[in-house]
């Protein structure tokens, strides 16, 4: 009895509530997306919402189990969990089936498991473990390399499974590294890199070189007394210019055809609304037609009649936009924002470095999913097939996010027992 009380003591109920609200809202919208008159039962296992009901029950069970397990376990077993996860990822090559061109699924009975989803929390645990070790300084090259590798290895394996979307998620750990002392310049450089990539595809090369040269000249005039700075400016401009040069190569040779068209659609270079641009256009139509208050629950025509593809998984936000309008969309975004802020708030109050780093990892991963998933439905991000956390249909994704979040909730509840 004391143990039971101990489990539920000190739990951050706000996080748990946000988790439950988002999960239920997700289920409601999955129900609306695939609803038809023939299948009304919410437990109908031939329908996505029926299966999702089971996934949710499973998720609650998992959450409870995580809370029961001793808080010491997670930090202690971070590396083993990470190792097991790597093995599982590699083993998918042997057992997997081809699902829509990617090989990241393992069949367990009639259900499919996607190890890539679970690799996120395992990597988060390992990274937190490593960075929370004593005498670790991110200013050192060795630390940077090792933490980089911890993230890059699972990402690379997933990339080989042709699941580019899930692999990109691992880029979100840059926020964790930044919080733990990585130079802000790297974050800035990452940002500039993306901007340069986009500009190189949109603007003529000569114009871009001119602009880079101009900016370099400006800096040069401002800092001409300092030799060292001049060198930095020159090399910076040189790097930027060669980057622009290499964009074409990356774009044409590294990216696959469908990835190129997705980028083209996002940048407005490709406007074939029946071909490559179809998904995004239909998605925008569904959301846009919702208006301010939406068409009402189960009254969405665009999603119900299958105009929007992948409507219960990657494009679930369309149903929100169409049936609940701007009000509903805003509520969902604000709930996610609240979740992210709460996670960071909770992370910052930790005495344990491990918990703090882990918390930032949770926030970063959820944030990345949120940004890409909603971004692609409203035409602000390329179409990258990753689910909306707690919302999208799918057992692997729901469970992995549940595990990711509840380990953090458990670690937080356990904080008072840690002396540091």
């Amino acid at each position: 009895m004391r143990d039971q009380k101990g489990i539920l003591q000190n739990i951050d109920w706000l996080l748990v509530s946000l988790f439950l609200i988002l999960m239920v809202m997700g289920w409601v919208n999955i129900y609306a997306a695939v609803y038809d008159d023939q299948h009304r039962s919410i437990f109908d296992l031939t329908q996505n919402y029926g299966k999702q009901t089971l996934w949710i029950a499973g998720a609650l069970l998992i959450a409870l189990m995580i809370l029961i397990i001793d808080g010491k376990f997670y930090a202690a077993f971070s590396y083993p969990v990470y190792g097991i996860m790597l093995l599982l990822l590699i083993s998918t090559f042997a057992f997997s089936r081809d699902v829509k061109g990617s090989y990241g699924w393992i069949d367990i009975g009639s259900f499919k498991l996607q190890p890539a989803e679970f690799a996120k929390f395992a990597t988060n645990m390992a990274l937190a473990k490593y960075l929370s070790s004593l005498d670790i300084r991110l200013q050192e090259l060795k630390t940077r390399v090792i933490s980089g590798l911890l993230v890059a290895i699972p990402a690379a394996i997933i990339l080989f499974q042709n699941d580019t979307g899930s692999a990109l998620v691992f880029g979100a750990f840059i926020f964790v590294l930044y919080r733990e002392g990585l130079s802000g310049n790297i974050l800035l450089m990452g940002f500039i890199l993306v901007v340069l990539f986009v500009l190189a595809l949109l603007v003529k090369k000569a114009v871009l070189f001119g602009v880079i040269g101009g900016i370099a000249l400006l800096f040069f005039l401002l800092a001409r007394k300092n030799r060292k700075n001049i060198m930095i400016i020159i090399s910076g401009a040189f790097v930027a210019a060669s980057l622009v040069f290499s964009v074409d190569y990356v774009y044409n040779n590294v990216l696959q055809a469908h990835q190129r068209t997705r980028i083209d659609v996002l940048l407005g270079k490709e406007v074939d609304l029946k071909g490559a641009g179809y998904n995004v256009n239909q998605s925008k139509i569904a959301i846009g037609s919702g208006g301010f208050l939406g068409k009402g629950f189960l009254n969405g025509t665009q999603t119900k009649y299958d105009f929007v593809p992948e409507q219960s998984t990657d494009f679930i936000f369309c149903t929100v936009g169409e049936e609940w309008g701007f009000m509903g969309s805003a509520v969902v975004i604000l709930l996610f924002m609240a979740l992210l802020y709460r996670i960071i708030f909770v992370a910052e109050r930790q005495r344990s470095v491990y918990t703090r780093i882990y918390g930032y990892g949770v926030a970063s991963i959820i944030f990345f999913h949120l940004m890409i998933n909603i971004g692609m439905t409203i035409g602000l991000a390329p179409v990258i097939g990753i689910p909306l956390p707690f919302f999208s249909y799918g057992g692997s994704s729901l469970w992995s996010f549940t595990i990711l979040l509840f380990i953090f909730i458990k670690l937080d509840a356990y904080r008072l027992q840690i002396l540091r």
Partner: protein, 638 residues
């Protein structure tokens, strides 16, 4: 700690700014840009058109002339068409496997998701056998449509035909969409707006595969289709059929009008065709066949051909003379077998001697009417021939000649009464006189009159001075044809008192004159024969008339191309039709038999047919030669 707190803030800010950008974007998409709402409606709403049934057509006695027969368009949604037993389907609808592939390819090219016509207008019988097996052909369905059907194969020219609407009409008139049917000629064209009815629309919701998902808002925005209005024609089915029979194996036209109303009783153009030929799947083939026929069966001679009226025109010339005060019942001219004026001679058929007006009409004397024409044109009150001629021409125009009558039949021609300007150009200004154009008086020269106008002039004489615009539709639905021009009397500028003497002459034409052979016992027929010279060969045979003399019920104008004397074909046929209409039985079986069996195919047509036959024969012969040569070559090979 300070550094860490700064970094926390930056991460907060990044999260916040992405959230804010997304909210702004959503607000723009959902609350400002309305185009997505329109796009969503276009996605999901499909207007399903309900075609109304086209109005039926009855004759004046209520006999059904035109009705609708259901046919079925076989439709296909290519995306849904899977595992089709093509051999069986091809057999059922009577197409080859190659045709199937071609049709499928076309439909798929139009849209894999949307329905398009796979095979048009399957008959009820074909549909019957197909329907039982439809379940086997996924992605196919049938859509009912209607075709025109004509219980008796008459009056093809009057009805006209229906065809798919041209793109230049769909562009101008928003009512029509590509693939719609529209009246292309005849009544179907003239009364299209009444016959077509009003299309209905059902607003349906469809999914991405274009499958119907139910009606929108329980049909709140649907409109029901309204059937087209039925037409009652003034045509007498029996008379029309009889006229077509009488004119079979002849080329020409006959128009009969009720002078008291202007209602057209019969309107025959020969050769005609079975209107059922221009309906349904065989239409294109049949149309091409009719188009190639040298006798031009598609050409409606009753409205679209004009002929020299010949002697029938003398009546009008006489009436004008009376009105001008230069001709009186007792005016006498002497005929020595022709009219002579300088180098000009207009021959007469006989030496008539001294004639008054009545006997000049009775014997159709050319000489007499040349004098009358000159006396009209060369009156002292006119300063020139031009002025005199212009005055004469103005009179003629009031008889509905040389201008369109504006009946309710499309494509009516106006005929020709030459203008002063025409003669000025032809002969030179001031270089022609009344004698130069004197042949106009006997209906020759450049004069051209359509059979409809011929019949209409008889209405004028029967009515002693006025006519109603001839028309063919009596009633639209239950209403009398509302067109005001059909109930308005159009007066000529010849006073009614002048008609009696002309009518006297016309009666004696049939009693004792040129048309005496076409007398009908017990009916006082007034008429006038015409034998018109023309550049196409033998004279045209013409007759105009009305009956009975008191209280006229039928006015008629008939023309048999290259039929020779007016009395040989035109007058007897007209008299038979008058007898049929007034008495309903024919008491002159001998004459009827002769007319029905007579063959009068003009020589130019026979020549053309012969030439075509020869070309065909030669082609066949040539083909045969090539073949036999090939055969012999083959035989020589070891």
């Amino acid at each position: 700690m300070n550094v860490a707190s700064g970094r926390k803030t930056i991460i907060y800010l990044i999260f916040f700014s992405v959230g804010l950008i997304y909210l702004i974007r959503l607000f723009y998409l959902q609350c400002i840009d309305k185009s997505y709402q329109i796009a969503a409606e276009n996605n999901v709403f499909r207007n399903v058109i309900e075609y109304p049934s086209r109005g039926l057509i009855y004759d004046r006695k209520g006999n059904l002339l035109v009705y609708n027969e259901p046919v079925y368009d076989l439709m296909i949604i290519p995306r849904q068409a899977r595992d089709i037993d093509t051999a069986e389907l091809c057999k059922l609808i009577g197409i080859t496997h190659e045709e199937y592939d071609e049709k499928f390819r076309k439909a798929n090219a139009y849209s894999p998701y949307r329905a398009s016509i796979f095979e048009k207008q399957l008959s009820v019988e074909m549909y019957g056998t197909l329907q039982e097996k439809m379940y086997k052909f996924k992605g196919f369905f049938v859509q009912p449509r209607t075709l025109r059907k004509y219980p008796s194969p008459i009056a093809a020219h009057l009805f006209g035909y229906i065809g798919e609407v041209d793109t230049n009409i769909t562009r101008k008139d928003p009512y029509y969409k590509d693939g719609d049917y529209i009246g292309k000629s005849g009544i179907e064209q003239g009364y299209e707006t009444y016959l077509r009815g009003k299309r209905g629309v059902r607003v349906m919701m469809v999914d991405v595969f274009n499958r119907e998902k139910g009606s929108y808002m329980n049909g709140k925005f649907d409109t029901a289709s309204i059937a087209g209005e039925n037409l009652t024609l003034s045509i007498d089915e029996q008379l029309q059929e009889y006229g077509e029979k009488l004119l079979q194996n002849k080329v020409g036209a006959v128009v009969a009008i009720d002078p008291s109303t202007g209602e057209i009783l019969a309107c025959v153009s020969s050769p005609s065709y079975d209107p059922n030929l221009l309906v349904g799947r065989a239409r294109t083939k049949n149309y091409a066949g009719l188009l190639e026929d040298p006798l031009k069966p598609l050409f409606n001679r009753s409205l679209m051909a004009y002929y020299p009226p010949g002697s029938t025109f003398k009546l009008i010339n006489d009436l004008i003379g009376e009105q001008e005060g230069v001709l009186f019942p007792n005016t006498t001219y002497y005929c020595d077998g022709g009219y002579h004026m300088g180098s000009i001679t207009v021959k007469c058929d006989a030496v008539h001697g001294s004639l008054n007006l009545k006997s000049a009409i009775e014997h159709s004397c050319n000489t007499y009417h040349c004098y009358v024409f000159r006396s009209i044109v060369d009156q002292k009150k006119f300063r020139s021939t031009e002025e005199g001629y212009q005055n004469w021409r103005n009179h003629v125009l009031t008889f509905g000649i040389g201008k369109r009558l504006y009946s309710d039949l499309p494509h009516e021609l106006k005929g020709n009464v030459p203008t002063v300007a025409y003669y000025d150009k032809y002969f030179g200004k001031g270089r022609w006189k009344s004698s130069t154009v004197v042949s106009l008086s006997i209906g020759q020269g450049e004069l051209g009159i359509t059979p409809l106008q011929m019949a209409n002039t008889m209405c004028i004489i029967a009515n002693k001075g006025y006519f109603y615009v001839p028309h063919i539709v009596r009633k639209i639905g239950d209403r009398v044809n509302p067109e005001p021009r059909f109930t308005k009397k159009n007066y000529t500028d010849v006073d009614s008192s002048y008609y009696n003497i002309v009518i006297d002459g016309m009666e004696s034409v049939v009693e004792t004159g040129t048309a005496a052979g076409s007398r009908i016992a017990g009916i006082r027929v007034c008429g006038k024969t015409g034998t018109a010279q023309n550049p196409h060969g033998k004279d045209h045979s013409l007759f105009v008339g009305f009956a009975p003399r008191e209280n006229p019920k039928i006015a008629i104008g008939i023309m048999v191309e290259n039929g020779g004397w007016g009395a040989s074909w035109a007058a007897p046929i007209a008299s038979l039709m008058i007898e049929k209409y007034l008495n309903d039985t024919i008491k002159r079986p001998e004459l009827e038999k002769r007319m029905l069996e007579g063959v009068v195919i003009p020589k130019i047509y026979l020549d053309k047919m012969e030439a075509e036959r020869k070309i065909k024969e030669q082609a066949e012969h040539a083909a045969g030669m090539t073949k036999s040569r090939e055969d012999s070559l083959r035989a020589k090979r070891p």
